[in-house]
Amino acid sequence: MNAKRCDETRELLADFDAGLLDERRADEVTAHAAECEACGAELAALKRTAALLDATEPARPSRDLWPGVAQKLAPRQPSRTWWGIPRPAQMRLALQVATIVLLILALTVILPLHWDQGPAVSLPHAVDDDAALFGHWYAQASLTSGLGNVQALSLIAATQPPEAAP
């Protein structure tokens, strides 16, 4: 008997037994198993395996297991209470969504606003006043006189009030 043919047939026996082969291949397996003793025995063993499984009693519990299950079943929450509040699972989801929205808001709106104010630097009063006075003069000179930066700065220096002089 051709060993290659036997190997090919053996690979197909389980599918053949389960009815998974097309007609042509099923006929080939049938013909080979009929003339090859070893492959025929293998097919018979497969059929006996199926028969053994069919004859095997399923393992049955020794007692009724339902009472033990029933006493451990927690009452299920209805999907929505009569006054319309979602059940806990939905409430949890809503809370999770709200938390995520708040986090996004905090990151995109609230924190940038806070950062725009910049760090609070406390300058000595004198420096702070001088800087304000300088800014005022510079801006006024630039805007009202139409002068350039150099001229505006010269004008400020020339018109500095005595109390603001260093």
């Binding site: 497969l46 053994l52 499984l53 069919d54 519990p61 299950v69 699972a89």
Partner: protein, 179 residues
């Protein structure tokens, strides 16, 4: 039970109907027990796992989306619990309390019992997807079409898994099937 009826019962249980859940328990508990038994080889542990699997299924049922695939989903819960017990037992190095018959081997009843125990152990060694179809089709006598519907898979897939499972079992059960 027709699959459509089964789906309706699962939907009712999902909504909190305990009576519907008891119907599911009655329909599926033997299979679940067999799955657990094939993994654990111990009837008492298998009974405990069966009960825990149904309690867990009740708790998780509201999150089950495909009610038609209830049986496969329940199988996975039971198999996971059984494997946890087996792992815990292995960690404690406690041998499985296989329900092996003792006494006069000539007694046909005892021989049959021993053979059944061997078959269950062999089934327990199969990959999960083969084990569940073998138990449903051969041990419980569920037709292929219904196995496919209960597990949410194609009939061809059921047949293919049965073929592979039987192929493996033919080798594991050689003393019983070779002449």
């Amino acid at each position: 039970m027709r699959p459509s009826d089964s789906t309706a019962v699962v939907a009712r249980a999902k909504a909190g109907d305990v009576q519907a859940f008891e119907t599911l328990f009655r329909d599926h508990h033997v299979r679940v027990h067999n799955l657990a038994y094939s993994i654990l080889g111990d009837r008492t542990e298998a009974e405990d796992v069966t009960q825990r699997a149904f309690v867990k299924a009740w708790e998780e049922l509201p999150r089950l989306r495909e009610v038609a695939a209830f049986a496969g989903w329940l199988n996975r819960i039971a198999a996971n619990l059984a494997r946890d017990v087996a792992r815990s037992r292995a960690a404690r190095k406690v041998p499985a309390n296989h329900s092996e018959p003792t006494g006069d081997k000539a007694d046909q009843g005892l021989l049959a019992e021993e053979r059944d125990a061997q078959v269950h152990r062999a089934i327990g060694s199969l990959p999960e997807h083969q084990r569940e179809v073998v138990i449903m089709y051969h041990l419980q006598g569920v037709p292929v079409q219904e196995v496919a519907e209960q597990l949410g898979i194609a009939q061809g897939t059921v047949l293919s898994r049965l073929a592979r499972g039987r192929e493996a079992l033919r080798r594991k059960l050689a003393p019983y099937v070779e002449q």
